[in-house]
Symmetry: C2
Subunit: 197 residues, 2 copies
């Protein structure tokens, strides 16, 4: 196999779930049948890796300083949903009819991994809660041990700012990850959220 | 989801076996955890799509006019193995101890698809057989109807040039594709190839 071809196979293995055999099939497929789309992928991938940063307001991925969702006039500014990752945000957007705004932690409280309130941008969140617009904060962290601890901490922050914290309803399986829950379950859990304990 | 991010998800779907959900996971994974390798993939992919052509001697993928395998002094020039695709060549290289040379058809005889002797580069193959160096031509087309018809035609070409045509041994499952055969079976079939009928 030529140097460039084996480089391509190796490079494709950076994709999650892609091993040596799949990477080889992908490389051959693009070379044999789909060079145009391969070139397009290269271009878009390069642009995305360079230009996508984080929204200064909600910390979600965005190629503009403030993301489209934060600057939209069509979203309810009284409700803020806090999620661990952009993937969770995407899952909620796709599964539920939620029309409020978001805040993305980009992680969860995990002192052993060096993830504290500062790394999760909680100063930004407190500032946002202090603006006085938000009435309800929906805590949608993952139902794992660390996610639950983070949720507990977030609920305290909300109460301290006079904002009502709520949690997703039971229905989300414990020990799992939000992004893998089927849409129906996620929509149900989102709809029957309850006051945080 | 931002425009650039949804463009990236869409572009990733050009990869075989990657649907919407996988593409989204890949995009988020690269953005959250692996931008360096994402950039590298973009660069290598672009280079590969632009620079990889076909070897003028064996028609395999190559970024040089004559590929490394054809110009290697370590390969036996008395044996030529004919395969349908670069993927099949890679499978044989990885599974067997074959040390001869190759010829890649980049297809199989299929008149309805407009694939005739010219499209498969058979003029180049006849010229190569006429050079007088080759003593055995191993026909390793897929064991499908079209592959068998192609094999029959190739055997005639070999005989006309005074070259002994051989086929892979029985053991390759009929109706399948070479690249999916496990290494052991493929190595066995390659080792016990027999004279073409």
């Amino acid at each position: 196999m030529s140097k460039l071809l084996s480089d391509l196979v190796e490079a494709l293995r950076c994709l999650p779930g892609v091993g040596g055999k799949s990477a080889q099939r992908m490389a051959f497929h693009l070379l044999e049948r789909d060079r145009e789309r391969g070139l397009r992928l290269a271009r878009v991938l390069d642009e995305a890796m360079r230009q996508i940063g984080n929204c200064s307001r909600c910390r979600n991925f965005s190629e503009t300083p403030v993301c489209a969702l934060c600057s939209s006039s069509g979203r309810d500014r009284q409700v803020l949903c806090v999620v661990e990752s952009p993937t969770d945000l995407a899952a909620i957007e796709q599964a539920t009819g939620y029309r409020g705004q978001y805040f993305v932690l980009l992680g969860r409280l995990s002192p052993l991994d060096g993830l504290g309130p500062r790394e999760l941008g909680l100063d930004l969140l407190v500032e946002r809660l202090g603006e006085g617009e938000i009435e309800e904060m929906i805590i949608a962290t993952n139902p794992t041990v660390e996610g639950e601890a983070t949720a507990h901490y977030l609920a305290q922050l909300a109460r301290a700012a006079g904002v009502k914290p709520t949690r997703l309803a039971h229905g989300v399986p414990l020990g799992g990850e939000l992004e893998y829950v089927d849409r129906g379950t996620l929509a149900h859990a989102f709809g029957s959220r309850h006051a945080a304990d």
